[in-house]
Amino acid sequence: MKQEAVARAVGQPAVASRPRIQLPYLSFLYVNKNAKWAMVILLPILLITFLAPFLPLQAPLESNIRASLNAPSLEHPFGTDKLGRDVFSRTLSGIKVSLFVGMTVALISLAFGIALGTASGFFGKTVDRVIMGVVDIFLAFPSLLLAIGLVAILGAGTVPVICAISLADVPRFIRLQRSLVLSLKSRPFIDAARTVQAPRLWLMTKHIVPNTIAPLLVAASITAANAILIEASLSFLGLGILPPEPSLGNIIKDGQVYLQQAWWISTLPGAVILLIAISLHFLSDGIREALDPRARK
């Protein structure tokens, strides 16, 4: 009851019965030019990756010494490695890991970024000083180096890698969310809500956070791309996901030794990383244009 009274008082339609946060309409995925490009690249990759078990491919870990270092052919689209394993099927398996890492890191960064960033910007004073102090300490490290250091402590494997990359990205999100909250805090509609004594929690969840979602989603999409690149870098350095479990980074590492005899092992999976990164950047441009009318040309 109180919530509806507040909503009426600030001149908004009563929204209690509607979804709290209006999610962007997904139609932008085929209306917006950038988002369309993202889908053109990303959808086929997703489709092949998740249909992999049904395709006539050699299993990612299955080796066949007789077919060692075979060039790309119809049977092995990306060729085979030293042990005769199918690079294409290993790549697909690596994409799954990459996408999982990218998505999880983006979600973790979003969740912690919204919670801590909003608290920091909204409450100010001591809360702000403590949170930003810690954020500044984390931002003193270059991102990949922080992730390397954390992996050194947490150990190799998918979960430690996700934790390490998230810890490097969360501070950036906190800072972004804090600056968004600070710029919203002094806007008239917040003052209006305040004058009718809207509770703080209401202010945060109804007025502030929904208005920060658009820039956060744009950042999340780029964070996913970066997380994929950092995971690949860590695995390439032999610190992330370790063989035999395939990851795009460690497949490329394996191929480095055979660069001259078998160029396909390293180069083709690398091209896939690039395609995924490009599509996620298109997606972030698409989200920006779909959610922020001012960005449309």
Partner: protein, 315 residues
């Protein structure tokens, strides 16, 4: 300016104190017994206790912390576990190599990217959309290429196929021409992505000022287009460019680790990867700390340059 610098230095000291604290406690967060983790499975019983005493891990935590703070101030990090060489000495030996790679990269990137971005902005302003689009699209794609992949591609084409440059090998300061040849490929790899980032920012920044009144005034006074773009527009577009040059040093440091690893260059990054693989935690801890110092110092210098170029900036 001076009071601002002092204020920033105070902030810097607080942050660095936090960084040292974080690094100190992070190493002690290793699950289980840190001494056992560092020793691997090689030691047990009395030998492990001896090893623990040698690392100072048997002292109370606050005492270890105070010792570590002192050791950082004195720049004396003890010696590595595996080779018992002094860590500070190893880092000082590796540092010039990493700095040289990073420095050459930045120089090359700035020299290529700023003219390139300015030309792209000029073309965009002239309505030559196709050429401008070609430049911006290439820059965007190149910017997203993983450094290790670019490195392998260039290695494949330039050293293995065309045999232009050596793919890897020792770097020493005794033979400058050989050394330059060795670090040429790593520098090119790193510069490629830096050029892409910087060129994009330069283009946006220059494009923004090209429609300002003073640019129109300069044109109306009959100055040639070259003078207008490079002297009047570019100069005023320098602020965002300086910021990005400073920020991209972070990316550059990330990149040096990968490039040093691929081309087996004995820089700080190689030291770090070696440390992790041999579970030499004191080494890892101090190399990471060192990177943070460098990064924070570069950010500080960027801020100072920014303030110098634009005195209006208030923080």
């Amino acid at each position: 300016m001076l009071s601002y610098a002092m204020k920033r230095i105070m902030q810097l000291i607080v942050t660095m104190f936090g960084v040292v604290t974080l690094v100190f406690f992070a190493i002690r967060m290793i699950p289980g017994d840190p001494a056992a983790a560092m020793a691997g499975d090689n030691l047990s019983g009395a030998a492990l206790e001896e090893f623990r005493r040698k690392l100072g891990l048997d002292a109370p935590l606050w005492e270890q912390y105070a010792d570590y703070l002192l050791s950082v101030i004195r720049f004396d990090f003890g010696s590595t576990i595996t080779t018992s060489l002094p860590i500070a000495g190893l880092m000082l030996k590796a540092l010039p190599i990493t700095l040289m790679v990073a420095g050459f990269t930045m120089l090359l990137a700035v020299l290529i990217a700023i003219p390139l971005g300015t030309v792209a902005a000029f073309l965009a302003n002239k309505g030559k959309k196709k050429l401008d689009n070609a430049i911006t699209w290439t820059a965007m794609i190149v910017d997203l290429m993983p450094a290790f992949w670019t490195a392998l591609l260039l290695m494949l084409f330039l050293s293995l196929n065309l045999k232009l440059l050596p793919a890897s090998g020792a770097v020493s300061f005794e033979d400058p021409s050989l050394m330059l040849k060795r670090i040429a490929l790593p520098v090119v790899v790193l510069a490629v992505s830096q050029v892409a980032t910087l060129a994009r920012i330069t283009r946006t920044a220059v494009l923004e000022v090209l429609n300002e009144d003073y640019v129109r005034t300069a044109r109306s006074m009959g100055m040639s287009e070259m003078v207008v773009v490079f002297r009047h527009a570019l100069k005023n577009a320098m602020l965002p460019i300086i910021t990005i040059v400073g920020l991209s040093f972070g990316n550059l440091l990330n990149g040096t680790v990968i490039v040093e690893f691929i081309f087996s260059i004995p820089g700080i990054g190689t030291l770090l990867v070696y440390g992790i693989n041999s579970r030499d935690y004191p080494l890892v801890q101090n190399v990471i700390l060192f990177y943070a110092f460098v990064f924070v110092a570069i950010n500080f210098i960027t801020d100072m340059v920014y303030k110098k170029v634009d005195p209006r900036v208030q923080f």
